[in-house]
Amino acid sequence: MMPGRTNAFISLGTFLLFGILTHLVASLWGFDNPMDYPLIMGLPRWVFLLLVVGSIVQLAVQIIYALTLFKDEGAGS
């Protein structure tokens, strides 16, 4: 197995998945009438989901990934 290929697939795939999910959220609630419901913590719902929830999820997923699936394979030192 080529060194690093699994890491690359998971990393790029996860990154693009984040992109798709955040743009899905924006499509549902961001483009039209974003203020038409109560604000969450003072932010429109789509902004709250992207800025607060999205950031925390992205950080958590990366830390969990680094500590579990990410392989320091082929150390090359």
Binding site: G4, G54, S55, V61, A66, S77
Partner: protein, 482 residues
């Protein structure tokens, strides 16, 4: 006065670090010591230098500035910003570190030469020079504009001072100076952004007044389209942000170069965690800073001044000085990474190819001279500044994404990729991008940003030309992919 003093102390510290680092460069081992810090850097320093060289003025100045101009749509544009580390570290970092050590490579063109041959390496070198020069100039413009607004320093003098300081510490200490200064700069940047965001939320008592201030400027400031409908659709936004910035992150030669300096690849996961945490602190909080500036300064002369104006208004001059140093640090840490990249491209990838027997002393002279010329060239461009930093940053980022990302991926992971295909991939990505950027009927066809088309052109060229040309040798494939 206190603000200026803090900023001057920061500049002096950077120069001192450069002098100390110069003591560790041995002339007989100049190429490796100067351009890869003797391959001696650990994961914590690499993690901070990777991210600080990527987080430029485009992030620390333009993110609050973009919120100021475009409202909350910036949140969508930067919706995957916390995951930038994932692509640069997870996709390319580990392999670049491994292959750099295996083939004694010190730069992206150097790696391309081993994998693709001389022609692709030469094209890579020329395109690096073309793309990075305006990007460096923009960093000088950013620092100088901030200095002009905050401490009243003449713009041209600001360009000369910042260019001079970066030039001194890089030409003396090379990559080691860059690594040490970048680590300090990253910590100052984190402090500055934390101060800015906490200051805004403390001052306003929460997000509600910020949202109301944005909504008061118009409905487009709180929806995902943004002011002037700059993100018309989700598809356009997707190709503008995750594709553009994500691919630019791992296609950026000045970021990739960091991994050649890694001591070993054990604990590589630590680099990913450190980079992710830094992005988590920087990007979302910079958007809070931007929203605060909208509420506090509805009539700023220029949106690039949003963060500096906020810092001087909210904080004691001492803290304002730290914030100012943080803003300067973001730009200087990017420009020093680019200077090293330009310097190694000229010294290793052009001069040493022409004069393989050049002495270490001569190589050091060429390395220093190329650094001086690159800094001076960027400073000259900066002395005639454009009006809006973000525009130039975006063009340069798109250039990185469309030119280098795909051939680099091919070199790292696709045994079938050929040298001819890599050359065409760089040329086509670069050409298609800039053709579609030009004003006219072909801008952003089918609602897809030019960067999406550029990356596609680069990918199609790499795959098609590879399949039509002779396979790389078994020996090369075995060396690279096992």
């Amino acid at each position: 006065m206190t603000t200026t003093l803090i900023f001057v102390m920061y500049l002096v510290l950077m120069v001192l670090v450069g002098f100390v680092a110069s003591k560790y460069i041995k002339e007989e081992n100049f190429m490796v010591d100067f351009y890869t810090a003797g391959r001696s850097l650990g994961p914590i320093i690499i993690g901070l230098t990777v991210i600080s060289s990527f987080v430029s003025g485009g992030a620390i100045i333009a993110t609050p500035g973009t919120v100021y101009e475009m409202g909350y749509s910036t949140v969508l544009y930067e919706s995957v910003s916390v995951a930038y580390a994932l692509v640069v570290v997870g996709v390319v970092g580990l392999r670049v570190a491994q292959l750099g050590r295996r083939f004694n490579a010190v730069s992206m063109p150097d790696l391309f030469r081993k994998r693709y041959g001389d022609t692709a390496a030469l094209i890579c070198t020329v395109l690096i020079l073309l793309v990075l020069f305006p990007y460096m100039a923009v960093q000088f413009i950013g620092v100088s504009r901030v200095l002009q607004a905050v401490v009243g320093l003449d713009f041209s003098l600001g360009v000369l001072i910042t260019a001079g300081v970066v030039l001194v510490y890089i030409s003396f200490g090379g990559m080691l100076a860059q690594a040490w200064t970048n680590t300090i700069q990253a910590l100052i940047m984190i402090t500055a952004v934390l101060l800015g965001a906490i200051g805004v939320l403390w001052h306003f008592g929460g997000f509600t007044p910020l949202t109301e201030a944005l909504a008061a400027r118009g409905p487009d400031f709180v929806n995902a389209h943004g002011n002037g409908n700059w993100l018309p659709t989700a598809l356009y936004s997707f190709t503008y942000s995750p594709i553009l910035v994500g691919f630019a992150t791992f296609g950026a030669p000045h970021v990739v170069t960091r991994f050649f300096a890694l001591r070993d690849t054990r604990n590589f996961k630590l680099i990913l965690i450190i980079s992710a945490v830094a992005c988590f602190i920087w990007f979302p909080l910079l958007q809070v800073v931007g929203a605060g500036s909208v509420a506090m300064f509805p009539n700023l002369e220029h949106s690039d001044l949003a963060f500096p104006a906020l810092a001087t208004q909210l904080f004691h001059p001492l803290l304002a000085g730290i914030v100012l140093a943080g803003i300067a640090a973001a730009m200087m840490s990017t420009v020093d990474a680019m200077l090293i990249t330009v310097s190694v491209s000229v010294t290793r990838d052009l001069f040493q190819r022409l004069r393989p027997d050049a002495s270490p002393k001569l190589l050091r002279l060429i390395g220093t001279l190329s650094t001086v010329v690159a800094a001076a060239g960027a400073a000259v461009i900066a002395l005639n500044p454009p009006s809006y930093i973000l525009a130039i940053v975006q063009v340069a980022l798109a250039g990185l994404a469309c030119t280098f990302a795909i051939p680099l991926l091919g070199a790292l992971y696709w045994p079938r990729a050929t040298g001819r295909a890599a050359a065409w991939s760089m040329i086509m990505g670069f050409t298609v991008l800039y053709l579609l950027y030009l004003p006219g009927p072909f801008q952003h066809p089918l609602g897809i940003h030019a960067a999406g088309w550029g990356v596609t052109a680069s990918l199609v060229s790499l795959v098609a030309v590879s399949l039509l040309s002779e396979k790389p040798s078994q020996k090369l494939v075995a060396e690279f992919y096992t």
